[in-house]
């Protein structure tokens, strides 16, 4: 039934939009969220006397609203509104309209999904499946609904954690689909390990969270969004029910709805009024919006519940509390980016180049631009330029591949010269040795006396590499390595870590490695060492180990000599490696770590004069002691902070009153 307009259009034409009520963010260089020009602006606010509306759907220019409080579906077509299923549904929570115009309504109170044709006649009802596969404990309270081109209907039922309830086109229950994985925490694992049977029975069964909403995209794939998850809040399922959507770097645990546009871009709505737009790979394009508490400003949402993207790119967001629909239209900048992304996602890099160059001019900090330009230059074999762009984009894969080509080019240029140089050197050496045959006497090696104690002790340290047993003995009995030399080695460990971050390839230490937080690095370098030394000393005192604190202090750093000597050269070598050769670095570092660990065990056993068994016991006790020490230090720091805060505030008050 069509009625004259009861809609009040607050037509905020283009004139109104200048300074918006929200900021727009995008991912900038450095992978930070940075402000950007607005990508979407609120151009209209629609109102149709809805009462607690729960869902909306846009199809062919028509807007369908689940007007739950009024038990009907409102259809907005231009400036006219009509109603479907009035009084035939009780509490429509979800709606979906397929390409033929058939309307699906999820009614949570009636516990049915209704199907209506485009004329408004009811053509089908889906109720709780009788099939034993459905499970006795699963209720059927439909909240949201969607359908694919084959006529399969996907229903999100309240409390059903097995996934979406799938019906075929004949209305028969087929299966569950697209369940979330249970979220198992360390606490749960520990509970199950240590609790008694009775206690375990008191615990709730570990169940995965239910999705909050669903959508079927133009290619027929099912997407779900789940509130409470962050990492895998948005899922895109293949026919096998496996999620194939990439990891999202900037996500939210408050997503309540999503929609997919014709190019595969994802529009996700959070309960606090934020709209996240991702491309089909999960790259965040834009984040904007916000919550209105009392202000009623255009673009801010009070209690958003649903989002939909129309064919023309406009975003419709339904606000349950206000009963309004805010329409966000793309700005010139937003349209440009989305157009560029559509080329990029289809792999049409060169075709989209002009657009991305323009985007770069309009926003030089827009990160995705550099990824795209990197791909463009790569396709053109401009590997140097591609390398620079990928570096800006912090695209590891692209950076590595461009680097491979650059290295390859360099090698091709120099390998010939290198080979000739090597050959020349070999020939020279051969000639020299032939000419001087019989004339050269082997020179007696004179042992040099090392005058400086530091160098002497450093040389003695090298013995730890060749023969740690003897080296420990020399250290204990003869003081071959002193406390100060060991301290220098500890300092070198920190300096080395700084140099590694600064000099190693970004592929191995990250693109932001050079932004060094010196204090955090200091803490990271020494915290475990400190705990180990103190913990081992305390444990060894109790277990009557022979070693003193000095021996443990010196021995520990000597055990890490392989790392102290070889980590930095390895880090420099990473500048010659690509991601495909990462195993060289990883394997080498692992070898150094194992070597150091073995040396540590040897050092401990020799320092304290323990047997193997005693050494193992000592190490385990030391680890436990480290845990306790860490806890103790943590508690002391908290108390200390409270005390300091207290005294500081007293002093500030004294200064204020004295002033």
């Amino acid at each position: 039934m069509k009625r004259p307009i009861t809609l009040v259009f607050l037509l905020a034409a283009a004139v109104l939009c200048g300074n918006l009520s929200y900021n727009t963010y995008t991912v900038g260089i450095g992978w930070f969220l940075v402000k950007s020009q607005a990508a979407f602006e609120p151009t209209e606010v629609l109102y149709g006397e809805f009462l607690s509306p729960e869902d909306l759907f846009v199809r062919d220019g028509k807007l369908y609203v689940a007007d739950s409080g009024n038990s009907r579906i409102a259809v907005l077509d231009g400036k006219e509104v009509s109603y479907l299923a009035e009084w035939e549904v009780l509490n429509p929570q979800g709606i979906y309209v397929d390409e033929s115009g058939a309307l699906y309504i999820a009614d949570s109170w009636a516990r049915n999904v209704y199907k209506y044709d485009e004329r408004g006649a009811q053509t089908g009802v889906l109720s709780r499946p009788d099939s034993p596969l459905y499970g006795k404990s699963n209720d059927f309270i439909p909240l949201k609904v969607a359908a694919d081109r084959r006529g399969n209907v996907y229903v999100l039922s309240q409390g059903v954690t097995n996934g979406l309830v799938v019906f075929n086109k004949d209305g028969k229950f087929v299966s569950f689909f697209g369940a979330n994985e249970p979220d198992v925490t360390l606490r749960m694992i520990l509970q199950r390990l240590f609790f008694t049977q009775t206690q375990k029975e008191q615990l709730l069964r570990i169940k995965p969270p239910s999705p909050g909403n669903l959508v079927v995209d133009d290619s027929g794939l099912v997407w779900t969004v789940t509130s409470g998850l962050t990492d895998k809040a948005i899922k895109r399922f293949n026919v096998a029910g496996t999620s194939i959507y990439g990891e999202i770097d900037f996500s939210s645990s408050d997503f309540i709805d999503l929609d997919i546009d014709a190019f595969g871009n994802v529009y996700a709505l959070s309960s606090n009024g934020l709209i996240f737009i991702y491309d089909s790979y999960g790259n965040l394009l834009f984040l904007f919006g916000g919550q209105s508490y009392y202000e009623n400003r255009r673009g801010l949402l009070r209690s958003p519940v649903a989002i939909d993207v129309a064919e023309d790119g406009r975003i419709y967001v339904l606000d349950k509390e206000d009963g309004t629909i805010t329409v966000f239209s793309p700005t010139a900048f937003g349209s440009l980016v989305l157009k560029g992304v559509s080329y990029y996602n289809q792999g049409m890099y060169l075709e989209g180049e002009a657009i991305w160059r323009e985007i770069q001019k309009l926003n030089s900090g827009f990160l995705l631009t550099y990824k795209v330009l990197g791909n463009i230059e790569f396709k053109r074999d401009n590997y140097g330029q591609a390398f620079d762009y990928f570096s800006l984009a912090q695209d590891m894969r692209g950076y590595s591949e461009a680097f491979w080509h650059l290295r390859n080019d360099w090698l091709q240029r120099v390998v010939g010269l290198l080979f000739m140089a090597l050959v020349a050197l070999a020939v020279f050496d051969l000639v020299r040795s032939v000419l001087k045959r019989g004339k050269i006497k082997p020179r007696a090696r004179a042992g040099r006396e090392i005058k400086f104690r530091l160098f002497r002790e450093l040389r003695a340290s090298l013995k730890f590499l060749k023969n740690p047993f003897d080296a420990v003995y020399e250290m204990k009995r003869n003081g071959a390595v002193s406390f100060s030399t060991a301290t220098l080695l500890y300092i070198w460990m920190y300096v080395q870590n700084v140099l590694i971050l600064y000099l190693a390839s970004p592929l191995f230490v990250g693109f932001r490695a050079r932004n060094i937080d010196f204090l955090a690095l200091f803490y990271d370098t020494y915290r475990l060492l400190f705990l180990w030394i103190v913990g081992n000393f305390l444990v060894s005192e109790i277990s009557e180990g022979e070693g003193t604190f000095k021996h443990i202090y010196i021995g520990t750093i000597e055990a890490f000599l392989p790392i102290l000597l070889f980590a930095l050269p390895l880090a420099l070598v990473t500048n010659l490696l690509t991601l495909n050769e990462a195993f060289i670095y990883t394997f080498s570092m692992q070898a150094l770590n194992v070597w150091s660990l073995v040396m540590l065990l040897i050092v401990i056993s020799q320092v304290h004069n323990f047997t193997f068994g005693e050494t193992v016991k000592n190490v385990l006790l030391t680890l436990f002691a480290m845990l306790l020490l860490a806890l103790l230090i943590f508690l002391v720091l908290i108390l200390l902070r409270e005390e300091i805060d207290f005294f500081v505030s007293i002093v500030q008050e004294l200064i204020f009153h004295a002033g």
């Binding site: 009040v8 607050l10 037509l11 034409a13 283009a14 004139v15 109104l16 939009c17 200048g18 300074n19 918006l20 009520s21 929200y22 900021n23 963010y25 900038g28 260089i29 450095g30 969220l33 940075v34 402000k35 950007s36 020009q37 990508a39 602006e41 609120p42 606010v45 934020l274 904007f288 919006g289 916000g290 919550q291 202000e295 009623n296 400003r297 255009r298 673009g299 801010l300 206000d322 309004t324 700005t331 010139a332 900048f333 937003g334 001019k361 309009l362 926003n363 030089s364 900090g365 827009f366 800006l392 600064y502 050079r514 932004n515 060094i516 005294f647 007293i650 008050e653 004294l654 009153h657």
Partner: protein
């Protein structure tokens, strides 16, 4: 276990020290929680029975007659020129209102106060007041309105002018119960339901609340003149993304009511620093449309009790130094349009010396702001990026001079170390960028004496402003300096600038921010800021508040929209209509907007000149700096667009210089026609498709100028 005596001794000494410190603190009056003293007295609210007012004529002149009702202190004004009657109180009981609203709308004056539970309550002159005449003369009279329940008396003076009525509160006496605010004639110009009329509010550029349209807003328009007083706002203790923008400010203190062929302009002539404009459309709380000013005597604020942020809400102890005064102008015919209202407001401000009357140079100017340098934090310290060296500055201006008849150039980030290490100290200059400062005398140097980045030196914490909750005040990533300190910073530097031959300045924040601090009120701080601004001769100001405007030579960053409240139905360019005949008005940086072409169209529509924020180097260099929000400033990317922008705007506005906008009409969806008093009209098309207006065909996002010969 034997206890070591020495250890016990130390423990006792430490405990005694802690105890002594705490006791000392208490003795010095450190007392978390509310103020001490007896709880305020309370009384039983009187019942209200509606009584129709009985008006007596008190004043009249050739144009206006003023009537007064002693019981409610209500007034009625009859405009003899058009027969329009402006009522300020309900004249008949209205069943759609409850007693509370009935009493409010039946009263000319309403006071708000705090009761024993820190709840705000109202006293209405009709229900709780006793009004008596003090003095009557030919063009004015005064009354005293006593509120015996709270022991308060206010004296109000009414002065009838040729086309206006002044209402001012000349004395306020309060008793034991503290007053928080005052409404003066809130129902003046009110109407019921949907009516052919509108409210106009200079929110941002200006907003119209169309009373003929039902509103979908559930909240009224409520905003402080000159912006919220940040001195009473809490500073959030946790970091979060800056998602929601601040609403626009009301920089000109007035509002207006249009009713068919008549309109009423309400200028807040006194107490503007403590005024709050409120506007309600029918359907929001009551079926009435009403707009008024609330004058704030005391703010409520949260007194923090601990570092966790827990606190109690309490009123200010001292009353604000408010002298409420409203001047109502009554307009008719063509003067009752928004353009006529803006013209009248301008006339009032001219009369009071708040804006200057001076002819402007008849050229269309262009404004360019340059970022000279900015610093970036690196692994080992900071590095300075030279974004626009002097040679490039000069080259760019030479190029621009080929088409721009007048260019206003502003320099930012000229301080050694870059923009984010400057303010409040702006010297020495960055020598890597500035070769010869003597050639820069025509540039305006951007200075900010009110805020400082955390990393910039020269400011000790004791000079930062603290709000009433004793938190250090911030403005985004910057700390706010106590306004009373700004003059000393400015004076210290002005001499040095003068020696360098620098005499032109663009002042940031001084003219926009108005706030209280822990121990000074808004008036004192604004006076301090006025003193600072007065040290500069003809500076550029950025969207200044009215009290600062007269000191400006040019005004930049004029907003091109209002706050976007749902209650606002459309944009009305009130701000430029009032100011454009006295100042060159510039937009915000056009290159940092999301729609370049549409922004230029707005500039033409509102009579604003284009403004760009430029660097010679690519803005990519700024991504890891504090200026990372400058996402597109590279001159090479904007060279052609700057020329286009100037051409686009000047071709329209050169025909409207020194003329007044007399009419702005929406001829069709997205199509507007502006008509000026020199006969020029500009028809603007905001649509993405060509549009037709009569015989005119207008390209998308473009305009057509018709010049009358």
């Amino acid at each position: 276990m034997r206890v070591n005596r020495a250890v016990v001794g130390y423990a006792i000494k430490i405990a005694l020290l802690v105890l002594a410190t705490v006791l000392l603190g208490f003795l010095l009056g450190y007392k978390p929680g509310g103020s001490s003293g007896p709880p305020p007295a309370s009384f039983v609210q009187r019942p209200y029975i509606f009584q129709s007012p009985s008006f007596e004529k008190v004043l009249e002149n050739e144009n206006l007659e003023l009537y007064f009702d002693r019981k409610s202190a209500g007034i009625k004004l009859v405009d003899l020129r058009n027969g329009k009657t402006w009522r300020s109180v309900l004249e008949e009981a209205d069943r759609s209102l409850n007693n509370v609203w009935q009493a409010f709308f039946s009263s000319g004056v309403t006071l708000e106060h705090i009761d024993g539970r820190n709840t705000v309550r109202r006293l209405n002159s009709a229900r709780d007041g006793e009004t008596s005449f003090i003095d009557v003369s030919s063009d004015n009279f005064s009354v005293a309105i006593a509120f015996p329940d709270v022991g308060a008396v206010i004296e109000v003076k009414y002065t009838l002018g040729v086309d206006c009525l002044d209402i001012s509160v000349t004395r306020v006496e309060e008793g034991a119960i503290k007053l928080t605010s005052l409404y003066l004639y809130p129902f003046m110009g009110a109407s019921k339901g949907t009516v052919p009329g509108s409210f106009l509010i200079p929110d941002g550029i200006g907003a119209e609340l169309d009373l003929s349209k039902k509103t979908i807003a559930t909240s009224p328009f409520i905003a402080r003149v000159y912006g919220r007083d940040e001195g009473f706002a809490d500073i959030p203790t946790t970091f979060s993304l800056d998602l929601v923008t601040d609403p626009e400010r009301i920089t000109l203190p007035f509002f207006a009511v249009t009713m068919g062929e008549a309109s009423m302009l309400g200028v807040i002539a006194g107490g503007d620093l403590y005024a709050e404009v409120q506007a309600y459309k029918s359907g929001i709380v009551t079926p009435f449309n009403w707009i008024t000013t609330r004058f704030i005597y005391r703010e409520m604020y949260r007194k923090l009790l601990n570092k966790k942020g827990e606190g109690v809400s309490i009123p200010q102890a001292q009353r604000n130094p408010v002298s409420p005064a409203l001047r109502f102008y009554f307009l008719g015919g063509s003067n009752s349009s928004p353009s006529g209202i803006a013209a009248k407001a301008r006339e009032d401000f001219l009369l009071r010396g708040l804006i200057p009357s001076r002819p402007l140079e008849p050229v269309v100017p262009l404004k360019l702001e340059f970022l000279v340098s900015e610093s970036e934090k690196t692994t080992f310290g900071r590095t300075v990026h030279i974004m626009t060296p002097q040679s490039e500055l000069e080259r760019i201006l030479t190029e621009v001079a080929k088409y721009s008849k007048q260019t206003v150039a502003v320099l930012r980030g000229y301080t050694s170390g870059g923009l984010s290490t400057s303010s409040p100290d702006h010297l020495p200059l960055e020598r890597k960028a500035i070769e010869d400062v003597s050639r820069l005398s025509d540039f305006y140097f951007y200075v900010d004496y009110l805020t400082a980045y955390e990393g910039s030196g020269g400011v000790s914490r004791s000079r930062y402003a603290q709000n009433r909750s004793e938190q250090i005040m911030i403005d985004g990533p910057r700390f706010i300096i106590d306004p009373r300190e700004t003059a000393s910073f400015a004076l210290e530097e002005l001499e040095s600038f003068s020696k360098l031959g620098i005499g032109k300045f663009a002042l940031a924040n001084l003219s926009e921010l108005a706030f209280s601090t822990r121990d000074s009120n808004r008036t004192e701080n604004v006076e301090a800021l006025l003193e600072t601004v007065s040290l500069f001769d003809g500076p550029i100001l950025y969207n200044p508040n009215l009290y600062m405007i007269s000191r400006a030579s040019h005004i930049s960053d004029i907003p091109v929209s209002n706050s976007g409240y749902l209650i606002e139905d459309s944009v009305v360019p009130l701000l430029p209509s009032v100011l454009r005949e006295s100042f060159w008005l510039f937009t915000g940086p056009v290159n940092l907007t999301s729609d370049f072409r549409r922004e230029l169209l707005r500039a033409v529509d509102y009579g604003l000149f284009p403004n760009f924020y430029i660097t010679s180097e690519s803005s990519m260099k700024l991504v890891e700096t504090a200026s990372s929000d400058l996402f597109s400033t590279g001159y090479e990317n904007w060279r052609d667009k700057i020329e286009f922008a100037y051409d686009f705007v000047s071709k329209a506005l050169e025909n409207t210089l020194n003329s007044r906008l007399v009419e702005r009409v929406e001829v069709a969806d997205g199509l507007f026609r502006n008509t000026y008093d020199n006969g020029t009209s500009i028809t603007l098309n905001y649509n993405e498709n060509p549009a037709r207006a009569g015989d005119l065909e207008i390209e998308p996002l473009s305009y057509v100028v018709e010049v009358s010969r």
